[in-house]
Amino acid sequence: MIRQVIIYLKVARGKHIEGGNRMIDPITVENISVSYDGNEVVKDVSFSFGASTIIGVLGPNGAGKSTLMKAMLGLIHKDHGSVRFGKKSVDEMRKQIAYVPQRSNIDWNFPIVVKDTVLLGTYPKVGILRRPKKADKELAMECLKQVGMEEFANRQIGELSGGQQQRVFLARALAQKADYFFLDEPFVGIDVSSEEVIIGILRELKEAGKIVFVVHHDLSKVKSYFDDLILMNKELIDAGPVNKVFQSGNMSKAYNREFMLDGLEVSM
């Protein structure tokens, strides 16, 4: 318990998220469809969100949440549809985008230690044919402090617990100093204190004006974690402020069964 508080204090002290005066451009998604082997897994999804928000992408298993996120980032082939960051395309905005993959997609035996993993976050801005400099390494250490993981800097990443691994990857995303954050199932299989650290940092990002997308499937805490919601089951059920979207009718439509939402909401 005391340990958790200490971690939390450390996190609260390390403020390295830039506020910045510039306004972050809204994301507009229009009619995205994706299919695998002829099966449509994302059908005609459209939505738009402005700066300073944490957006949950919610839906049952196989609803196409991760696929939607990858399609937005241009990582997989879209049948049709477009994504705009203000007036720019995703290819023009790549350096402003930080992506945290699902933990299951990472090779945890890779010969890399924690601090070098975070340093990867500086690569996009360091650029090709250049090496990270001292300032980049300092930035990586600061981001590591921010997630309360600096004492693990020299550990191989596979030696960490699930929550610690997720914090390291969040630190890597912070080191990218991006405007748009995409996290795929960051809360799956992690401990309570890690979850608190992560949501605390996501809120700081939001306060700094950033746009944060989180693929999520646990229905508890939806209201306390997210400002906006994209509810989908292959096609979009609803998108917008969490209070408007997170309703029994919508949820029943998405999950194909009756929903009593009162019992679900667990406060932090």
């Binding site: 990582l75 985008i97 890399i112 990867l120 690569y123 044919l129 995409f182």
Partner: protein, 288 residues
């Protein structure tokens, strides 16, 4: 001592020595990325699939380098084309393409009526390295080392987390095919030293040995290069003194180093971890 004296004396042995070391180094370097990307089978495939290219080059009377590189690249694209455009899984498409190329290569070589050449190509004969072969190996070595040094950062991030690399704009498919191309070059350079069939041992085993010993990619690459070079020199030594084919000796040397690391690596070694758990148990017992 006799070996070192002979090394000073004979020009052909010096050429073989330099070539062996370079081959060991570049196999270790490229092999590290092959191992980490889970492409060991791909390394095996490319090395076998360059055989028809070598045969056609012999028939046309041109340097085997050109034909080998051509069929190596064709194989890489062929495998990619099958696994991306059908439901066939990657390992199966590797099996389909490389066995076809290898079979074609054997028929072509026997048609070209050079049975001795075939054994040399299959199993390596480091002592037959000519000056031009040595230069070819050194040039390929320089290219491989330069590319890996310049793009180390990109190779690291795309091998570790390809999705992140793609998300920030790296051309991951270009990186994949560049590695395939370098792999083909390395395989061609290794032809005379280890031979087609056992190139994979020099690619995979020293890199795997290094993988057991470190948590840092750069260290792994250096260690793999070192183990590769040592194994090649051992191969040359036995080949020269006992008239053995160099390929199999090199393969067994890489295996011996691997077994040592497998048993005694400070972090991963099974003997060490057994010992550690025994002493831990003792600690627990004395503490109680």
């Amino acid at each position: 001592m006799g070996f070192i004296q002979d090394l000073m004396t004979y020009g052909f042995l010096q050429k073989a020595f330099i070539t062996s070391i370079m081959v060991g180094i570049i196999c270790g370097v490229i092999g590290s990325f092959i191992v980490l990307r889970g492409m060991a089978l791909m390394g095996d495939a490319i090395s076998h699939a360059i055989l028809p290219g070598v045969a056609i080059s012999y028939m046309l009377g041109i340097n085997y380098f050109y034909g080998a590189v051509l069929t190596g690249v064709l194989t890489a694209f062929g495998i990619g084309a099958i696994s991306q455009n059908s439901r066939i899984k990657n390992d199966s498409s590797i099996g389909i393409v490389f066995s076809a190329f290898f079979a074609l290569g054997i028929i072509l070589i026997t048609r070209a009526k050079s049975a001795t050449d075939l054994t040399q190509i299959l199993f390596g004969n480091v002592l037959s390295v000519r000056t031009s072969d040595m230069w070819l190996t050194l040039i390929i070595g320089a290219i491989v080392i330069l590319v890996v040094a310049l793009f180390f950062k990109e190779l690291l991030v795309s091998s570790f987390d390809e999705t992140m690399a793609a998300a920030y704009g790296l051309k991951t498919r270009l990186i994949h095919y560049s590695i395939m191309f370098l792999l083909t070059l390395v395989t061609v350079a290794s032809l005379q030293t280890v031979g087609v069939i056992l190139v994979v041992s020099l690619l995979i085993t020293p890199a795997s040995t290094a993988y057991l010993l470190t948590n840092k990619l750069s260290v792994m690459v250096f260690l793999a290069a070192f183990f590769g070079a040592i194994s090649s020199i051992i191969g040359l030594y036995f080949s020269f003194l006992y008239n053995m084919p160099s390929g199999p000796v090199i393969a067994l040397a890489t295996t011996a180093l691997f077994v040592l690391a497998f048993l005694f690596s400070p972090k991963q070694g099974i003997v060490v971890s057994k010992f550690r758990s025994v002493s831990k148990r003792k600690d627990v017992m004395t503490n109680n």
